[in-house]
Subunit: 356 residues, 4 copies
Amino acid sequence: MPINAPAATMKALRKMRPARGAQLESVPVPSPGPSAVLVRVRAASICGTALPIYDWDPWSAARLRPPLTCGPACCGHGAAGGSAVSSVAPGDFVSAEMHLNCGVCRPCRMGQPHVCQRLKIIGIDLDGCFAEFVLIPETNVWKVDPSIPEHYAAILDPLGNAVHTVLSGPIAGHTVLITGAGPIGLMAIAVSRACGASTIFVTEVNPHRRALASRMGADLPLDPADPGVLAQVLEATGGAGADVLLEMSGNPFAIRQGFSMLRPGGRASLLGIPSQPVELNLVDSIIFKGATVLGIYGRRMYETWVQMTELLKARRLPLEPLFHERFPLEDFEQAFALLHAGQAGKVLFYPGGVPR
Amino acid sequence: MPINAPAATMKALRKMRPARGAQLESVPVPSPGPSAVLVRVRAASICGTALPIYDWDPWSAARLRPPLTCGPACCGHGAAGGSAVSSVAPGDFVSAEMHLNCGVCRPCRMGQPHVCQRLKIIGIDLDGCFAEFVLIPETNVWKVDPSIPEHYAAILDPLGNAVHTVLSGPIAGHTVLITGAGPIGLMAIAVSRACGASTIFVTEVNPHRRALASRMGADLPLDPADPGVLAQVLEATGGAGADVLLEMSGNPFAIRQGFSMLRPGGRASLLGIPSQPVELNLVDSIIFKGATVLGIYGRRMYETWVQMTELLKARRLPLEPLFHERFPLEDFEQAFALLHAGQAGKVLFYPGGVPR
Amino acid sequence: MPINAPAATMKALRKMRPARGAQLESVPVPSPGPSAVLVRVRAASICGTALPIYDWDPWSAARLRPPLTCGPACCGHGAAGGSAVSSVAPGDFVSAEMHLNCGVCRPCRMGQPHVCQRLKIIGIDLDGCFAEFVLIPETNVWKVDPSIPEHYAAILDPLGNAVHTVLSGPIAGHTVLITGAGPIGLMAIAVSRACGASTIFVTEVNPHRRALASRMGADLPLDPADPGVLAQVLEATGGAGADVLLEMSGNPFAIRQGFSMLRPGGRASLLGIPSQPVELNLVDSIIFKGATVLGIYGRRMYETWVQMTELLKARRLPLEPLFHERFPLEDFEQAFALLHAGQAGKVLFYPGGVPR
Amino acid sequence: MPINAPAATMKALRKMRPARGAQLESVPVPSPGPSAVLVRVRAASICGTALPIYDWDPWSAARLRPPLTCGPACCGHGAAGGSAVSSVAPGDFVSAEMHLNCGVCRPCRMGQPHVCQRLKIIGIDLDGCFAEFVLIPETNVWKVDPSIPEHYAAILDPLGNAVHTVLSGPIAGHTVLITGAGPIGLMAIAVSRACGASTIFVTEVNPHRRALASRMGADLPLDPADPGVLAQVLEATGGAGADVLLEMSGNPFAIRQGFSMLRPGGRASLLGIPSQPVELNLVDSIIFKGATVLGIYGRRMYETWVQMTELLKARRLPLEPLFHERFPLEDFEQAFALLHAGQAGKVLFYPGGVPR
C-alpha cells in the first residue's frame, strides 16, 4: 500500500486530563509504521466504554493515560499504509477490530487472541477513532462488504460483542433469556432470532427499552421486578427454564434471577460487567444444574467478524430501531448528554460531516 | 396409562410377500406390552425408504421379513398403553421416533443411540404405521405441541433427518451448499435459513425441484451439469468455497462436485445414500482441506426432536410448498404411482379418512 | 432374567429417624419389579453424602424421608431380576449408576440425563446399598469388567465424579490446578495424569492430604495459606496461570484463589459444594478472562462409565493409596468415627463379610 | 532483535534441477526482513515429504521450483533478526512451524490457519533447513523449552502431525486403531498412550515396524493381511469396533479395513496421503455409522505446539525407539539411501557437525 499523507493535521476528540470530559483538539495526522493502515474515519460509534471514560470513572482512572484520543468503534476508508501492507488498498471500505493481541502469549497460541494476556485496545490504550483519521494494524483492519450500510459498519465492534455472546454456544431451536436490553442486549435479540432461537425472553427494568425489545423481536419482554417472572418463564418452557441465558446487564440481581431461570444443563454467556463482586449460589445456579457458563470478552478474532458479515450481507439482522441521532464531532457534548439521559440507542459521530 | 382396547381389527397396508407391491389387509389391532403405547394413526407420510420397499429393491429383499405392515412416519393420538406407561395419556397428540435402540451397546452408552448396534426400525423390522393403529415403545413416543399442524406432525421423522443434518455442525453465519433438492434437501433449505445460514447454494438436476428450492429460500439454485457451477460458488464466496456441504443426493457425481466446492476447513454432512461405493480423491476433498465429514443417520435421540419442535412452535419453518396430495389408505396404488413419477413432495396417508 | 428370591430377610444400615446416627436392622429382601435387578452387595463405599446423612445436616433434613437404607455406591452380583430384564444375568459382576433419571424431561431429551429435572438417587430418595441386597433398575446396572478388582468396583460412583470433572473439557497437554485433595480430588490427580495433563498443581490445607496428593502424582502440592501460591503457579506456567481448574473443595477461599490462578481462556470445572453462596469477582474471574465454567454433577450417563472402565481395564489409574480400612456392616460406628477424624481415604463396607 | 550477520556464506543441500537427487552448495546466508528471524540450524529431520522431493515424484515436479534448499523440520538457535522482531532473542533455542499462512483468507479468519488458502511451506515453496541457516518469520518461530532435548526439538514438525491427529477428537478412555506404523504412526502410539487411550491396535504390513509399534506401546500389533484382523478387533472391543481410527498409511486397503473396524459413532482422523482416489463404501463406512471423519493437515497453529511442548516437558512421550542415525549434511546420499531401504526411523542432519 503506497504511503500517501492525506493531510497534516486533523480534528480529534481527546481526553487531555485525568478528569471528567473531553475536548476537541487539532493534532497531527499520525503516520503509519510498516504494518499499519491509516483509516479516514467515516462514522464512529459511542459504545459501552465511551461514557465511563468521558465521565472518568474509577476503572478509567486506573487504566487510561491521557492525553488520548477517544473512540472505540468506527468505519472508514483506507487512506495510507506502511510498506509491508498488502491486503488493504487506498479507498477500501473498512472497519477494525480494536483489540490488539500480542500473538505469542499462551491464549494467543491457543487460538484465543481475544483474551490475549497483553491485550491493548485502540481508544483506551492507544489513540482511538473519534478523529478524522485513526491508525490500525493491518491484521486488525476488516474489509467491509460494500452491501453493508455505513451506519451498520460503524457499530461492528459492539455488534460483534452481541454475535460473540449469542454464538458462543448452540442457539438454534433453543429458548433464550436475555437479561438487560441495552444496545448490546437489543442486538442480541436480533442475532438470536436470525440464528434460530425459538422463544426469546428479555428482562429489563426500563419500559422504553422493553418496548424496543419487542420491536427487535423479543417474544416476552419482562419486568424483573415483577414477582411472577420466574413462573412465566417456567410455564413457557414446560417447567424447565430457558436453554440459554445471555447476561447483558452486569446487575447482580439480574444475574441471580437469570441463573434461577436457566434450565439444568443450560448455557449462560456473561457479557455484562458488574461493578462489584457478585454473591452467587454456585450450587443451585451452576453445579447441580450442570450449567455451562462462558465469560465473553470482545469478539472472536476473527470468527465473529465472519459470522457478523455473513448475517449482515444476507440481511438477516434488522437493527434500524437501534440507531439514534448522528452528530459531527463538534457536538460531542450534546451526544454525551443524550447518552446520559439513558434512552439512546447507538449514537454516531461523523468526523467528516453528517450525511443528509 | 389404562389398557383400553379400541377395536378388534384394523386396516393395514402390508407387504405380504417378498416381491413388488403391497396390499390392504384386515389384521388384529395389536395389544401393547407393559411399556408400549398403541397409537391411533391420524396421518402417515411416505418417506425415502417406503418406495424401495414397495418396489422390493435388493436392500429391501436383504432386510425385510414379510408379512409386515409398512409405514415409516406418522402422527396420531394415544389410544391405549401398557401398565408401566406413565408419560403418555389416552388422547395425547403424538408422533414417534421410529428407530428403536437397545440402550446398552457402546454407542448407546456413549450418548449415540441413533447409531445403536442393535437398532430396529418400525416399518422395516417391526410393523409400521400405514395402518389404523401402530405400537410404539413409550420411550419413543414424542408428544407433539398442539400448535403444530397435523400434516407437519406427520413428517417429523424425515424433517428430523434434515434438522439433524443441518445442525450437526455450526450453521449460523455460514454459507451452505445443499447437493440434491429432494424432500429432505428442500427441508434442509428451510432449516438452514431459519438457523442463520447466509448464502444457500443448491445443486439439483431436476428444474422443477430447482424451482421448488427457490421457493423454499435457496439463493442460488444450480444445475450440476452446468460447467460454470464451481466458478459461481467460488465467486460468491470470495474464492473460498462453501463453509458447509449438506449432501442429500447420494449421487457420486454430486458428492465429488460438492466436495470440490467445500472450503478448506469446512464441514460436510452426508445424508444421501449412494447405491455403490464412491471413488473419492481423499487428499483434495478431505485431508489437505482439513475438512470435517459427518455421517448422518436418523435423528439425534432426542436433541433433534427438541430442536425441531422449537423451530416449528416458533413458526420458523415454512414448509407448505413441500406438501402434496393426501390419500386414504385404500388409494395406495395411486399414491405410489405419484411418487414414481418423481415430482411429488410429501405424500400423506390418512388411515381414518382424509380431512376436507 | 429369572426371578429367584435369594433370601427372606437381610441386614441393612438404616436411618430410622430424622436425627443423627443410623442403626443396623433386619428387613425383608426387596422384590424386583419387571425392569429391576436385585444385586447382592459385595462391597459398598462411604462417599461424600454418607457422612452428612449420618450426621443429619440441614440438607439431609430437608431432603430425606426416613426410614431409609443408606448407601450411595457399591459393587456386587446379580441375584434376581424382573421379567423384562434381558441384559443382566444372575451372577454377573455389577456396579450401578445410583442416579435415576426420568427419560422425558428437557435435560433427559437433550442428552443430559445426569441433570434430569426429576432425578432420584438410590441411598437418598430410595433404599441404598449399605445392605446385603439393593434394587437397581436394569438401565442403571453397569456390568463391571472382570479385570477390575472388587475394591475399585465399589467406588466407581465417586471415581466417576472425578472422571466426569477431569474429562468435561480438554486435558491432554494442559496444566491443571486441583483445589482440594479429598478423595475425589485425589482421584482427579490420577485421572488427569492418565489423560495427558502436564504439570498438576494441587492446593490443600491438610499436610497429610498434600502428601497423599504427591503420591497420587501431583507435581506441586501447595498450601493455600502460603502467600506465594499464586506466584508459584504463575512462574511454573510462564505467567499465564493453569489451563484447567478442577474445584474439589467447595471452599469459598479456594474457589476465589483457584480462579485467580486460571489462565485467560481457561476451563474451570466445579464439583465441590459450597455450603453458602459465594462472593465472586465475575469480571476478573470469568468475564474478562473468557473462561469456560462448568458445573459438574454426578456422572455422564453413561459416557463417564465407559471412559472409567477403559482407563481401569488398561491399568492407567493407580488408586491404591486412596483405600483405607474395610469393615463389616456391624462396625459402622467405627467406620463413621474414622471418617469424622478426617484422615480416611475410601472406607468400604462388606455386608457379606470382609475378605481376608 | 538486533541484526547481526553471522557469516557470509553457508552450506545448503539444494535441489538445483527438476530431477532426482540434490547437491551440497555454498550459498549466501540469507538476510532477514523486518519481521523474520535467521536461525542457525542445529539439527534437521528428514520427514515424509523429503524423500519424494529427493526422488522428484510427480507431486514434487508439479509443485517445486528449483533451485531450492530442501529441509522441512529443524531446531536451532536465533542468530539474527529483523527490526520488528521482539519475541525472539539471539541465542534462543527454537524450532519452527514451517507452514506459513496469509492471515486474511477465510480459513485464517475462521481460526484455521493450518488450511490457509495461500499456504506456503518452508522447504517446498521457500528455502528450507537442510542448511547452516534458515529464515523463519517471527510468528512461526517456536521457542523450545530448554528441558526438551535437541533431537526431539528437531522433529517437532512431524511429531506435531501425530499430536494434531490424535488430539483432533476425544482420546481419553477410548480404544484406538492406528493403520500404518511409519514414523508418524509410531509417534501416534506414544501420544495416544500419554493421553489416556485404552487398548491401542496397530495394523502394519512390515514385521519390523510391528515390533517397533509394540516397543512404542501398542497393545495389539496386527498384520493387515491376516484374515482374522477384524474379528480380533471386534472381540477386543465387545463387538463394537475401535472408538477412534487414526489413518497413517495412505493405503486404500488399509483405509477401507480401518473403517470396517471403526465402531458406529466413532471418529476417524485421516493423515496418510493416498496417491490415487480411493473407492469407499460411504454408507457402511461413514453414513450409517454416524462417523466423524477429520482431514488432518499440518499442525493446529499453535494449539498443537502448546500441547506437544507440555507433553514433552512432562516427559510423557518416550520416543527414543524412533530415532535412527545422525549425519553431517555432507553424507546426505547415505542418509537418503537409508530411508529408501525403508527401515529407518527419524534420520537427522547436523549441518554444524554431529554431536558425539
